[in-house]
């Protein structure tokens, strides 16, 4: 199994390097995407910088990707990476609490931050005449975050409401959390990114301060700017704002390996907020940016993306077993999953639906997909990639993600070629290797009568 290299182990000091790639984002469907010229460098403090001029609109995007996610959390501290993400809005030496929102939004910008299993990102998109503002805001909080009890209590509340709104007050919320905890043995991916209520309650100011020093250091981050600017001028400003942020010692590495399972795992849930049953299945897949992962991505599209896809045609239209079905396939740093989610048509049992899904999975594991299905999947992937690359913000986020997760920002130019290189044999081999019944986990949900004061907030 191949794992992403930790980029900070490479140390190139303050040299502006021009990355050039042979590939030009072309595919044999004849579509040529404009190739992006990445300017990469690393400051003395370890901050990796990627600059891409794009003069198509008078705007720019700034993305700071930190090489930390919920995978780095330890038992008793779940939800910490994300809780910390919220703390990054609570003010720093020169930016007041909440002022970040005010400065960005009132100057015509947009911003947010997100945390996944693998990485945490912060981003702003602003009119090009506010270049200093974005750099200043990101540098100030990287250098000097305010960690206080009052701020922690406040954001803990916001995060708990986020969990309630997204999970505890939603039908099937528990199914989605339980599926990961069932299907992973390695704690890194076993627990949820949102975290348990008990762990969120227990988080202390000391924990927050430690987390900041360990992970929010320039040597554990990638700064990406894409937009309407002169890269030489931007580089001067990047140094001005970021060069004096001190480096920290490298964070501990996390083992993301998932050992093979011995037999299928199952759980059934009675959900008081659900009105219809649901079937959730997860199969392990190889880490992202590997030939096998690309093959699994294309397999998933052939199975369930678009109304001509196999599962839609067979299970929704022909056999009328499902009212909807979807598949999401991870591209993680470690072992990811292919998630299949289906709702039975009213009157159809979960068992019949599962049998229908199993028949399709068995067929594809035996015979693979057709050349036509593969060609179609490639076109759909290319469209999706173009849509993500359309805006400077989308491009900056992709670059940050490629750099942090796979140590390869040049993937912005080479991904279409890699996706296009997948062969029908690779898909068939991957399907046979990974769609294994004894390696999968299944969660079934059935509606339950709401109990008075139903305790749904159990961790």
């Amino acid at each position: 199994m191949k794992f992403a290299k930790i980029w900070l182990s490479i140390s190139i000091a303050s040299v502006l390097v021009l990355f050039l790639s042979a590939g030009s984002g072309s595919a044999d469907n004849g579509v040529k995407l404009p190739k992006l010229d990445l300017r990469g460098t690393r400051l003395d403090n370890g901050l990796r910088v990627i600059l891409v001029p794009d003069h198509s609109a008078p705007v720019y995007a700034i993305d700071v990707s930190y090489n930390v996610g919920s995978r780095n959390e330890l038992p008793g501290h779940t939800g910490f990476a994300h809780l910390f993400e919220h703390m990054m809005l609570e003010g720093s030496a020169n930016v007041g609490k909440g002022e970040h929102f005010i400065l960005v939004l009132n100057n015509g910008g947009n911003m947010n931050g997100t945390t996944s299993e693998d990485r945490t990102i912060y981003f702003e998109e602003l009119p090009k005449n506010q270049l200093d503002l974005g750099l200043y805001l990101e540098a100030d909080r990287m250098r000097s975050l305010n960690v206080t009890q009052a701020n922690l209590d406040n954001q803990r509340n916001a995060v708990e409401e986020e969990r309630r709104q997204g999970v505890d007050n939603q039908p099937y919320g528990r199914a989605e959390l339980d599926l990961d905890s069932l299907s992973y043995d390695n704690f890194a991916y076993k627990h949820s990114t949102i975290g348990s209520m008990a762990d969120l309650e227990a988080a202390s100011v000391t924990d927050v301060a430690d987390f900041f020093h360990t992970y929010y250091a320039p040597n554990n981050a990638v700064l990406t700017l894409v937009g309407d600017f002169d890269p030489d001028e931007v580089m001067v400003k990047v140094r001005k704002y970021f060069a004096s942020v001190p480096a920290q010692s490298a964070p501990p590495k996390v083992d993301l390996r998932e050992e093979p399972h011995y037999g299928e795992r199952r759980e059934s849930i009675f959900d008081p907020l659900a009105r219809l049953p649901r079937l959730d299945i997860a199969y392990h897949v190889p880490p992202g940016n590997t030939a096998e992962n690309y093959a699994m991505q294309e397999l998933a599209i052939a199975l369930a993306q678009g109304q001509s896809s196999r599962l839609y045609q067979q299970l929704v239209k022909e056999k009328e077993l499902a009212s909807n079905i979807s598949i999401v396939t991870d591209a993680r740093m470690g072992t990811g999953q292919m998630y299949i989610r289906a709702t039975p048509r009213p009157g159809v049992s979960l068992a019949d639906l599962e049998k229908g899904v199993d028949d399709e999975i068995a067929a594809v594991a035996k015979d693979g997909i057709t050349a036509e299905e593969l060609a179609k999947a490639k076109m759909q992937l290319l469209r999706r990639f173009i849509d993500r690359r359309r805006t400077v913000l989308g491009t900056a986020q992709l670059l940050g993600e490629y750099a942090v997760k796979f140590d390869d920002p040049e993937l912005i130019n080479t991904t279409p070629d890699k996706e296009n290189a997948v062969t029908i044999d690779q898909v068939k081999r991957a399907a046979k290797a990974y769609l294994l019944r004894d390696q999968r986990s299944v969660v079934t949900t059935e509606p339950a009568q709401a109990a008075p004061n139903a305790a749904r907030e159990a961790p």
Partner: protein, 525 residues
């Protein structure tokens, strides 16, 4: 950008494992897409740019805008005081002999093309005994034409890597049909698009299957607090008729027939009722010719605008509708009133007032309910301006035990907004924010197109977006307060609270007379 998915319940979805600082989209907090404001507008690469300072604005920003909050402005970060003013590139507008209005915009950044059709009158034409007919018709366009089967349509679209979809959103006065893909496939896309719009067949077998899926969709939506709140709000605000509906009913799904769909299509899908917009990597002249090739044969005179009689005349006094959702750990609160038409001159005042009160994470509601009190993940306000008086509303999902506190803060902020003039610095910030955000809109072609379709559809002046910044700059304290008095009107505020009745009914009674309904909308004793 509107959804380009034919079926929102199918395909690759995002998982709940990615957590964000603030809600990704307002949709999880507010039961609709973004309002028709400048945050939705964009423009293109070859835009003329000028750096100007808003003539009437000074950006002092020294005062604390929310005295109640611990939010703190240090004003040390480097801010460029100039607003980057941009001019949106104008589309080529043409009318074909059959009455179809075309709107064409070139955008050469990437080799793609997007087509969007607005076909009136959409859901507003639903018969009272068949709610959802417009929506059923739109959903069924892809399910077979005189020339293609449902499978053939799906296969062609997927093979092109294209998106092809249609929807008649509840509350919208037009059906949207769209197609997008790589520009090389523009002829095939137009062939598909014109086929599903001009020649849908509504095959009985497909209609029967669709009805089964639609029942499941409805059941799933009934489990969603945002949907329950949205449905109750429309009911309270509009009483009866199409405007009062937010979804089909089990009965209408059961009763609709292929003949109903054919009739609706024949009556309303006409070139004279339609604007077709295209944006992408093409030459305008070539694209016009291509569109004419596929749409010139379409015929049918335009219909007169639909009349929208609703029983409600004067706004009703404040009332609280509690939608009982047993087992809820949050209360989803909506407070709102009847709003304006898109062409009303009050639009600008409402826009700026809304920006101050709840237009984003920098606005009063968010800073108070989330940053100060930690009651919620997000609190926002929004408005919807249509050919009929739409609505203005604020919404937040709060944990059940702080339902009372949240209501108190909402009432406090509403009262403050309508009774105290907004400080000059807050007014400046709001106007600045709205105008400055135009620059960001310049790189999302589908949204730019949507902006110009808005101008065309509502009959706004051709230089509307050129004038917009000045109109916003011209909104003064008095205009903001007038908008607040009229729309943030506590005497006529309609509250919807979706939550666990046993835990919140008593509390809510403090804020007005409470009516309890169940998930089906039926009154409970």
């Amino acid at each position: 950008m509107k959804s380009h998915s034919a079926s929102p319940h199918f395909g690759c979805e995002s998982r709940r494992s990615e957590m964000a600082m603030i809600p990704h989209t307002i949709e999880t907090s507010i039961p609709r897409a973004a309002h028709c404001g400048p945050l939705r507008c964009l423009a293109l690469a070859a835009t003329v740019l000028t750096l100007t300072v808003l003539a009437t604005s000074t950006f002092r920003g020294q005062e604390k805008t929310t005295p109640l909050s611990k939010v703190e402005r240090l004003n040390r970060a480097p801010v460029n005081k100039e607003v980057l003013r941009v001019q949106l590139p104008r589309p080529m507008v043409a009318k074909l002999p059959n009455g179809l209005t075309l709107l064409l915009l070139e955008d050469h950044k990437l080799p793609t093309v997007t087509f969007i059709m607005w076909i009136r009158p959409g859901q507003l034409a639903d018969p009272s005994d068949l709610p959802g007919l417009a929506s059923f018709t739109a959903d069924m366009l892809r399910e077979g034409t005189e020339r293609r089967s449902s499978f053939a349509i799906a296969g062609e679209a997927d093979s092109l890597g294209a998106t092809l979809g249609a929807n008649a959103r509840f509350g919208a006065s037009y059906t949207v049909v769209n197609a997008a893909g790589l520009v090389d496939s523009a002829p095939q896309l137009l062939d598909l698009l014109s086929d599903i719009v001009l020649r849908p067949a509504f095959p009985p077998a497909e209609v029967a299957r669709y009805k089964q899926r639609e029942i499941a969709v409805l059941e799933q939506r009934l489990a969603n607090p945002v949907f329950l709140g949205q449905r109750a709000f429309r009911q309270v605000l509009y009483g009866d008729g199409p405007l009062a509906m937010a979804s089909p009913t089990r009965d209408s799904i059961a009763r609709v027939t292929p003949e109903d769909l054919k009739r609706f299509h024949a009556q309303h899908y006409r070139p004279g009722n339609t604007i077709l917009g295209a944006i992408g990597d093409f030459k305008t002249g070539d694209m016009r010719g291509l569109i004419e090739k596929y749409f010139a044969a379409w015929s049918g005179a335009s219909e007169p605008p639909i009349s929208l009689a609703t029983k409600r005349g004067e706004p009703e006094p404040t009332r609280i509708t509690l939608v009982d959702r047993p087992g809820s750990v949050q209360t989803y609160i909506i407070g709102g009133t009847r709003g304006i038409r898109r062409t009303d001159p009050e639009y600008y005042g409402l826009q700026v007032m809304n920006q101050i009160l709840g237009g984003g994470p920098q606005a009063r509601l968010f800073l108070d309910l989330r940053e100060e009190h930690g009651y919620t993940y997000g609190a926002y306000s929004n408005f919807n301006a249509e050919i009929y008086p739409g609505d203005w509303l604020a919404a937040a999902a709060v944990r059940t035990p702080v339902t009372d506190g949240s209501m108190t803060q909402l009432v406090y902020q509403f009262k403050r907004m309508s009774s105290e003039p907004a400080p000059q610095s807050e007014l400046d910030d709001a106007r600045h924010s709205i105008v400055a955000s135009f620059a960001l809109s310049l790189e999302q072609p589908a949204r730019l197109l949507d902006n110009w379709m808005t101008v065309q559809y509502y009959g706004l002046p051709a230089d509307y977006w050129d004038q917009y910044a000045d109109r916003i700059a011209g909104v003064d304290t008095a205009a903001v307060q007038a908008a607040a008095r009229k729309f943030v009107d506590l005497a006529h505020m309609q509250w919807i609270c979706v939550g666990d009745r046993r835990q919140i009914q008593e509390t809510l009674a403090k804020y007005g007379p409470v009516t309890v309904v169940d998930a089906e909308g039926k009154a409970e004793k």
